[in-house]
């Protein structure tokens, strides 16, 4: 089976990596995007970006940076999935949540017995079956009402009068009272479905509640190891994705170093697109010389100049990645070891083939 192609023609991996290095060397602003890869792949990608003066961005940076922006603008109080599972007597679910995010959280009875679950704007059918040992209460509104709903709730918690709100005053007060009565409350959200101001309101509500009791947030991580890649970016460059290395030091700008904007505007003239967990195509339609490292079955709007088929992390090869249920980086053995190329191997080979480039200090 072929694993590497140049302009659609099968080649050896070494030739593909040499061609990738040639493209990176002759371009003016390379972007390493997608970044759907494990920790080793992220380490290799950032090291390559430092050498090639490239920009790094993750395909889920929008959601990632939404949580991060609230944290780095205002701060945050959060807990781990494990603590929430063991201790949360009140779970406040905020907005639509991914289907697979709740079972781990809800499948155990909390230490203190009963658990109250309040779901604001669920936007879908509630989970069936015995997934939690408590009562469920929903506030069925469209998710676009969340900002005012949370504002009304925060006002009620603070004992302030509430004016026009998409919820009856009595219901609002009842929810507020339940939050205040929580002994270890936890608010769960997915930044993929909330905007930054809603998130900031929610995190402010959590802080307010801690004046009298304990309440924490539990942000659910985006897919494609985005949280793992964020951690690697943090220790290697001090900065999250959407960071550029072109000026010999790391500089971060969520607008300037947005890969999609860089490609659409024509600023980027070469892209390394990485999507190992699944064959996600890049989100732009404009043609740009592309080195693609993806899982099987990828369809691109424009054929990549170089394409390398990489193994699925944790399936085809052992992996270190963010483990959502543990809230941390963890090692996982492959479930079906095959001889495949890892993202890190391909990127390291490309870096090794960069002939004369000067190492750029971070």
């Amino acid at each position: 089976m072929d694993h590497a192609w140049i302009d659609g023609r099968p080649v050896e991996l070494q030739a593909a990596c040499a061609e990738a290095a040639r493209l990176l060397q002759q371009c003016r602003l390379p972007v390493i995007a997608g970044l759907g890869t494990d920790v080793a792949g992220a380490r290799a990608a950032i090291a390559l970006a430092q050498r090639a003066g490239a920009v790094v961005d993750h395909m889920h940076s929008e959601a990632l940076l939404r949580d991060l922006d609230v944290m780095r603008d205002a701060g945050m109080m959060t807990t781990t999935p494990g603590e929430a599972r063991l201790r949360a007597d009140v779970l406040l679910l905020v907005g639509p949540l991914p289907d697979d995010s709740l079972p781990q959280l809800l499948s155990a009875k909390p230490d203190k017995g009963e658990r109250t679950v309040i779901w604001l704007c669920p936007k879908r059918a509630l989970p069936r079956g015995p997934v939690f040992g408590g009562k469920m209460q929903t506030v069925d509104r469209s998710p676009d009402r969340l900002p005012t709903l949370l504002a009304a709730l925060r006002a009620a918690v603070a004992g302030r009068p509430v004016g026009a709100a998409p919820i009856a005053v009595k219901t609002n007060q009842s929810v507020a009272d339940q939050l205040k009565a929580a002994r270890f409350g936890t608010a769960v959200w997915s930044a993929a479905t909330l905007d930054a101001l809603t998130l900031e309101m929610l995190c402010g509500l959590i802080k307010d509640l801690n004046a009298k009791t304990r309440f924490s947030g539990l942000p659910l991580p985006p897919d494609d190891n985005a949280s793992g890649v964020l951690q690697v970016c943090g220790w290697m460059s001090s900065l999250p994705p959407r960071t550029g290395f072109a000026r010999a030091f790391a500089e971060h700008d969520p607008w300037r170093f947005d890969a999609r904007r860089l490609v659409d505007s024509g600023e980027a003239d070469c892209v390394v697109w990485i999507s190992a967990y699944r064959p996600t195509p890049p989100p732009w339609t404009r043609g740009v010389p592309t080195i693609a490292l993806t899982g099987d079955g990828a369809r691109f709007p424009h054929r990549p100049r170089v394409h390398v088929l990489v193994g699925r992390p944790g399936v085809d090869h052992d992996v270190i990645e963010y483990l959502p249920a543990g809230g941390t980086l963890a090692w996982k053995a492959a479930t079906a070891t095959r001889t495949t190329i890892r993202v890190s191997d391909a990127l390291n080979q490309i870096a090794a083939a960069l002939s004369t480039s000067v190492a750029v200090p971070c």
């Binding site: 959060t78 781990t80 943090g234």
Partner: protein, 541 residues
């Protein structure tokens, strides 16, 4: 490969050597002088310079998920959209992993202990440390607020069970020792406790802070782990908390105990603000209690960020966040803070740290730390060495501080000045002994050839800021304060044995309580991404 460092003043307290002479290295180790007439492959001239073993920092928060949270909280403190002006917070501190290794090496440090790794985050910490170049490193794993241990103690299980659990944790997380942080305090905070002292009982578990400290201290000692239990006491930062420090020192009884960043517990409650120096009393207790060691956690003025697993303390301090943003996580709290020379409390803190350094007689029992970055970034070390070595310099600093603060300390009356040999004892010989590293911290035959050579400059800060030469494993890595060669060190670990029954218990526990495999926190050597990432330190059996 035979290398000679020629004609320097060799200061090596561990071998009681302080003389002008040569140091010989062969294949990464200190070698005996060869027969007369043998030509070395390389010679480095150290005439007029001071030659010491590489320095060891025993407590510096340089890596892990908590440190990474602080990095991501403060993008404005490193080069962001605009190039950063000089003198902004931590601008010199080497914030990413790579720079951390470079900056430490430039000062002649060859090993650093990351002292606060929650076991669930051990793999993350080791991955970061693997990207810290040049220096060796080690981690302390944190126990004492974890549900499993508190249940063991609450159920009055045997000391064997505690010991097995501690050993399992050390093995699984590849740590060199165990730290306890405000024992039981973080667990109590989960039930909404807002203060917690040594004899307070953790709600729901029925076990006191003291009992947690004693159980862990005994387990570490029974296992023969060289580094004694590393204790972050209760009541950090509060006026009058010297009582907590004294009580904890007394609680050590006959077994070894290490008290971390004792400066933050050196406070009396005198004066109209109820905040004064009690350093003299604490130092006196340390001098008297030979089985206790301490590190200082010196404060220096300037902006920094506090990173601590003492979640309770960090939550209570959030009102002082500067800039006004902070993160509290069940595991750690991050609160940016600025120590100001014109702030009464900060001036007292600065003085308390120096008093402790100067009033504790034995430089081998008081260790040099700023609790980086909690008291100050590690890049302030050269200034602190200078302050310890010159009472004149201290007087200059004192003159710029609020007199009302200084009046509540004994610092102006202290005449002691550290000698170079005492600095070497505090930063080389003693730390190696504290961690059971027989082949580090000295320049004796067979030691790892980690060597720092400094110009003997009267300006001691200048001297220690940029080593003239640094050798790591016998290879030249720094010249005139600049890294000349990048290589990677190892993480030192202990691997005490345990009864594998604990494995089964933990498997059931994690499965039932967390819905996770109990080995999700393991640190597979092959996954670290560096050849030979670990080095084993033997336990006394």
């Amino acid at each position: 490969m035979l290398t000679r460092i020629a004609g320097g003043r060799v200061i090596d307290p561990a071998t009681e050597r302080d003389e002008t002479g040569d140091v010989w290295m062969r294949d990464g180790r200190i070698a005996a002088p060869p027969p007369a007439g043998t030509q070395p492959d390389e010679t480095y001239d150290a005439a007029g310079k001071v030659v010491m073993a590489g320095a060891i920092d025993i407590h510096s928060h340089i890596a892990g998920a908590n440190v990474n949270t602080a990095r991501l909280l403060l993008p404005e403190w490193h080069r962001a959209a605009a190039a950063r002006p000089a003198g902004t917070p931590l601008s010199d501190a080497g914030w990413p992993a790579f720079a951390t290794g470079y900056r430490y090496a430039a000062m002649g440090f060859t090993m650093v202990v990351e002292p606060a790794v929650a076991p669930h985050y051990a793999l993350h910490a080791h991955l970061e440390l693997a990207d810290v170049p040049i220096i060796d490193k080690a981690t302390l794993s944190i126990l004492g607020n974890d549900d499993f241990l508190l249940r063991l103690l609450g159920d009055q299980e045997s000391a064997y069970a505690v010991r097995d659990y501690v050993a399992w944790t050390l093995q699984t997380t590849h740590a060199i020792g165990i730290k306890v942080v405000n024992a039981g305090g973080a667990a109590a905070f989960k039930t909404n406790a807002r203060q917690f002292s040594l004899d307070d009982v953790v709600p729901n578990y029925g076990v006191s802070s003291r009992a947690i400290v004693k159980a862990l201290q005994r387990a570490v000692d029974d296992l023969g782990v060289p580094h004694p239990l590393h204790v972050h006491c209760n009541n950090l930062g509060l006026g009058g908390n010297a009582e907590t420090a004294l009580a904890t020192i007394a609680a050590a009884e006959d077994l070894p105990l290490h008290l971390a960043h004792i400066q933050f517990y050196g406070y009396g409650a005198e004066g109209k603000r109820g905040f004064s120096s009690a350093a003299a009393r604490v130092a006196e207790a340390v001098n008297r209690t030979k089985n206790v060691t301490v590190d200082v956690g010196q404060v220096m003025f300037g902006p920094t960020v506090t990173i601590s697993s003492d979640v309770l303390r960090q939550f209570n301090a959030h009102g002082q966040a500067h800039p006004n943003k902070w993160v509290i996580f069940d595991g750690w709290g991050i609160v940016p803070y600025e120590y100001r020379a014109d702030n009464f409390y900060n001036a007292v803190q600065w003085a308390v740290g120096l008093e402790l350094f100067l009033l504790i007689d034995d430089p081998a029992r008081v260790f040099f730390t700023t609790d980086h970055p909690n008291g100050a970034p590690f890049t302030t070390y050269p200034e602190i060495f200078a302050l310890l070595m010159s009472r004149e310099l201290r007087a200059e600093w004192i003159a710029r501080l609020p007199p009302a603060a200084i009046e509540l300390t004994t610092l102006p009356s202290i005449r002691r000045e550290y000698s170079l040999a005492e600095i070497a004892a505090m930063t080389r010989a003693a730390p190696a002994r504290l961690f059971g590293l027989n082949d580090r911290g000295h320049i004796g035959l067979g030691a790892v050839a980690d060597i720092a050579v400094y110009a003997d400059d009267a300006d001691r800060a200048k001297m220690f800021r940029a080593a003239a030469l640094v050798f790591k494993d016998g290879k030249l890595v720094v010249r005139d304060g600049r890294v000349t060669r990048e290589q990677f060190g190892r993480a030192l670990t202990v691997q005490p044995g345990y009864d594998h029954n604990i494995d089964h218990r933990l498997r059931d526990y994690y499965d039932e309580r967390y819905g996770l495999a109990h080995d999700f926190m393991k640190v597979p050597e092959a996954a670290i991404g560096r050849p030979e990432p670990f080095e084993l330190v033997p336990c006394a059996s």
